[in-house]
Symmetry: C2
Subunit: 619 residues, 2 copies
């Protein structure tokens, strides 16, 4: 660390993944938001209790962890196990464990960070270079394949892991490793260095946040440099075309997210960071416009992005097949990253709306309820009942019919893990005298204002099963504050009860703007009755179909729930009969008069092999 | 050649690609059927006048031909240009030129066969092995990568080329090369040899027909051996799964064509050959059932097969997206190969029906009207107007928006060329006292019967623009013969006029069974007015859409024809107003009251960048 940089410490950063230099909203982190129960607490508990260990044990078993030991001991070689990006899985697991430790203080999570850090650190070269795949013992030379080598991608994830550690624990050996790695990248790829970029964006968002966390502007500057270089054919062309890695058009000139979805979204997240910190509103506007176009025309009902298996990529506008939807789990995570940054920059509620949709229907869909198997692809229609995965086998394919314990390319499990461990950091934001609730869960939230006042609330809700959200004021400043509760776009007729008044509130934000009294209760009721959703008629793939949603949950018909006489291939529903609530899903009438059960999409494929569809033929 | 095998000569084989040992129908070849004008004659003329030279010149330019010279001169190496299967393109071009010479006697086609044969022959090893990619000067060892090496696949195409030469010219240096190659394969992969199969089927169908052409049963036996080995996990597993190369289930146990479409179809063609020649009705029935299932559930309106780009493969049942339809041109060619063999074996008209559909809407769609650019993929919906291809550049991708002069993987141009050059060999068949017309074109057909009688006819028609087919009897035996004319399934209300009678004939065959009189005319009128076609409701991708067909032609809306106020994204047609004929296509009313022009699908993308769709939203 150079003299002008100081770690600002846990309290200052408050366990937040993203801390922009400026913006419309200030994020609240793990230090300010505690989830006390409900839907997300359960997922977090499973993540902590099963998934972290599950990921570590698979990476040990497959030698992805030993790859670091072999570099450290000088015994590595070209036949190293794992893809070139397997290092990043280790870093994402460290990030997950760091957030988990920040969230709960669990010693086991801290111990995981420490033992993995020790092995990672031992593999770092003297000049800061860190890779188990290149540059050692008969391996290809450093940066000899920027298109597919993933070295900078891996480093980006290392930096994100270090940010998690810095913002939850403070200075740490992992942070030292990351700083040396970041310095190496700046030295190697700086203005006078290699004029290259990584085939898989991620270093940009990693550098930007690490620079923020350390107050080291040169890292943000290096991120800007990578962004500026990209989009001009700096990478070798490939059969899938340069759009695959967003090297076809500079990010500020693009009009839509395109190519490989995770690449496009990680890049966009980094672009927002750079735009915000360097005051580049032109760049910020470009990403916001791309988001608009993409969400209108290239995003599934679930929030899933990326319709093509071939290149794990966005297809054309309106190309949204339900059966061949790729909707990679990681693209869901990356979409949340982009939307969160755009929300913080602009305060526009639509970004938080999409985050909720993606959280419930992509991120929560991936892990099996025991936290030990995952969807990689998240199709909206599974035509044939897929076999149950063997939990002892690495799945070679990213098909969507069954959750797999581990994948040959296993980016999704650790991405889910780091997102769940930090979930509440995306649940609320604040302003000078304002607190905004974005995602609903039983929670305790306390945040301070610049004038020293503190607003503390307790949120009680059974959301999303029930639409009532009760906020009890525990502590409040004497002066007026603004409490804002997000009203999702589907929640027409939402009702706010506060200060003796009951009012219908429109989608956007329900606002209470007055002095709050400790002990008082504010109640928002969001109508979560099942509802029919019709597709845009330009989405050819689901013309003549209807979907059913319930609150933020997309529902689906699963073959195991169907009456014997009804098959998913022949299903025809009668949309004139409104869906009615049934357990946490709904019942819907078929044209033949049967009632069929619809369940939350995120829980499909938990009961053995099954077929499934979200969009139901209605004519 | 061993003593018991003799080349039967041109007359005996009559320029026929397929001559089964038994079957319901006997194929008529180039010696018996001459196309004298019309749709296919025009394509054949362009093929002869442009495509053959075009293919040779691209393969020269890219070094695919020089690969043979380099092996011959001992100067080849691992950095050889082209994929491992580029040799097969040369063989398919030789096959095309051989058929072309057989069809027209053009000296230029014969010269092409001879000059290419000389270069091929020079590269053959002393033991018969022939490959420019393996086994020489620093290259990987022979058969070291059966999964992706394509050595046997290449050899299969060499054998098919030799069949074309044998059946049009007779004994020839190319036939000698092929015989040595086939003997090498039998020695290497025989019962006591390598227990392997090729990752890309083709050797089976090549060996079987070459064995037929030479009367060499051991080649058919070797084909059987390859078929029997396959489907038991004999190949290494790959990320796409063993279904990709049909090594998941033995061909006689499979229920549907699956995996990579061209692989599946070449394999099936070989399976029919083996089944027929070895009297294996169980195997024949298995392929026929797979065809039934595939045509019902995995085949596009165009006859195109293979919906997935990812693996160039069949998708699931009913997974038939219009926009992402892969429908590789080669799969269309391969589908014709399978259907022709099944037709000859069974006489079932449905195989000929599918052939017609595929000929007009896949095979004829691929080549640009000048014969110098080709579609690789044949989607049924192009969302965005693709740029016009640069005729001087190799297309790296098999996307469908524009025809390309050549491809990085360039299997389709030569496959089109060999099919067009031999097209009339699929147009008619015969029985003991029967002649059957399957495909309609102006033609002269003359065939002899076992009793020495000759039936000679002249066919006059403007089909498919017009549905009238007139058959003039030029010569006929004194006894009764059966003349059968195929009535396509869409031709309800077809009318047959003969012998002073006019009768309505049902789809299937219109039959005249009596002594024919030289000079008499028989007329079949097929109703080719434009008609609406509705999809099976289980095809989710086109629910709520309708297509328009006209005779055997599938029509499409192309953006360049639309009124300014109508876009393909917003198009909504009014199916209550029947389509009316317009040029060689139709006019159809939109819901907004505009009339839009529909053109034959096979001629789309000839007028600059355009969007296109076959399935038109109707509600």
């Amino acid at each position: 660390m150079t003299a002008e940089e100081t770690v600002t410490g846990v309290d200052a950063a408050g366990g937040r993944p993203v801390v922009p230099a400026r913006g419309a909203q200030r994020p609240l982190g793990l230090a300010e938001v505690g989830v006390t129960g409900g839907f997300w607490a359960e997922l977090q508990a499973t993540n902590a209790g099963a998934t972290l260990e599950h990921c570590e044990s698979w990476m040990e078993r497959l030698g992805w962890l030993a790859n670091f030991d072999r570099v450290a001991s000088g015994t590595t070689g070209p036949e190293r196990p794992g893809w070139s990006f397997s290092d990043s899985e280790v870093y994402k697991l460290v990030e997950a464990a760091a957030w988990e430790y920040g969230r709960t203080g669990a010693p086991s999570a801290d111990a995981m960070v420490r033992r993995l850090t020790a092995r990672i650190a031992a593999a770092q070269d003297a000049d800061g270079y860190l890779s188990t795949c290149y540059g050692h013992g008969g391996q290809d030379a450093r940066y000899s394949d920027l298109e597919t080598g993933h070295e900078l991608y891996n480093t980006g994830h290392l930096l994100q892991a270090a940010v998690a550690r810095l913002r939850t624990t403070g200075a740490d050996p992992l942070v030292d490793v990351a700083r040396r790695a970041a310095d190496h990248v700046c030295a190697e790829f700086g203005p006078d260095g290699r004029q290259g970029v990584c085939g898989h964006p991620e270093i940009e968002v990693g550098l930007a946040e690490f620079g923020r966390a350390l107050g080291a502007g040169r890292y943000v500057e290096q991120a800007r440099l990578f962004l500026d270089r990209r989009g001009r054919g700096i990478l070798r062309d490939i059969p899938l075309g340069r759009a695959y890695f967003q090297d076809d058009v500079p990010v500020r000139e693009a009009t839509v997210f395109r190519g490989h979805a995770v690449r496009a979204l990680y890049l966009s997240a980094g672009a927002v960071d750079v735009a915000v910190d360097l005051g580049d509103d032109d760049l910020l506007g470009a990403v916001a416009r791309q988001w608009d176009h993409t969400v209108e025309r290239r995003t599934y009902l679930t929030g899933g992005m990326g319709s093509r298996h071939q290149d794990e990529g966005f297809g054309e506008d309106w190309e949204l097949p339900a059966d061949r939807a790729y909707c990679e789990t990681c693209a869901g995570v990356a979409s949340v990253m982009v939307s969160w940054r755009l929300y913080l920059a602009t305060g526009d509620v639509r970004y938080a709306d999409l985050m909720e949709r993606t959280f419930y229907n992509v991120v929560a869909t991936s892990p099996r309820s025991d936290g030990r198997a995952f969807f990689y692809a998240n199709p909206l229609h599974q035509r044939t009942a897929a076999g149950v995965g063997d939990d002892d086998t690495v799945s070679p394919r990213a098909e969507g019919g069954t959750r797999a314990a581990w994948f040959d390319v296993s980016c999704c499990p650790t991405n889910v893990a780091r997102t769940l461990a930090s979930w509440q950091a995306y649940a609320a934001s604040s302003g000078p005298r304002e607190l905004t609730l974005l995602q609903y869960a039983p929670a305790r939230i306390a945040t301070g204002f610049d004038d020293g006042g503190v607003l503390a609330i307790e949120v009680d809700t059974a959301y999303p099963a029930d639409g009532t959200v009760t906020v009890r004021v525990a502590d409040a400043p004497a002066h007026a504050v603004m409490l804002r509760l997000r009203v999702p776009p589907w929640a027409g007729g939402a009702v706010l009860s506060e200060g003796g008044r009951t009012t219908v509130v429109a989608p956007g934000f329900a606002v209470v703007d007055r002095p709050l009294v400790p002990g008082e209760q504010i109640r928002l009721v969001l109508p979560v009755a099942p509802r029919l959703t019709w597709p845009d008629r330009r989405v050819d793939a689901v013309r003549g179909c209807v979907a059913v949603e319930r609150g933020p949950l997309v529902l689906c018909a699963e073959s195991v729930d169907l009456p014997a006489a009804v098959t998913l291939d022949d299903l025809l529903v009668d949309p004139s009969a409104p869906p009615v609530p049934h357990d946490d899903g709904a019942m819907l009438r078929t044209a033949g008069g049967d009632d069929i059960v619809l369940i939350p999409y995120h829980r499909w494929a938990e009961r053995g092999p099954s077929a499934m569809r979200i969009w139901l033929p209605s004519r």
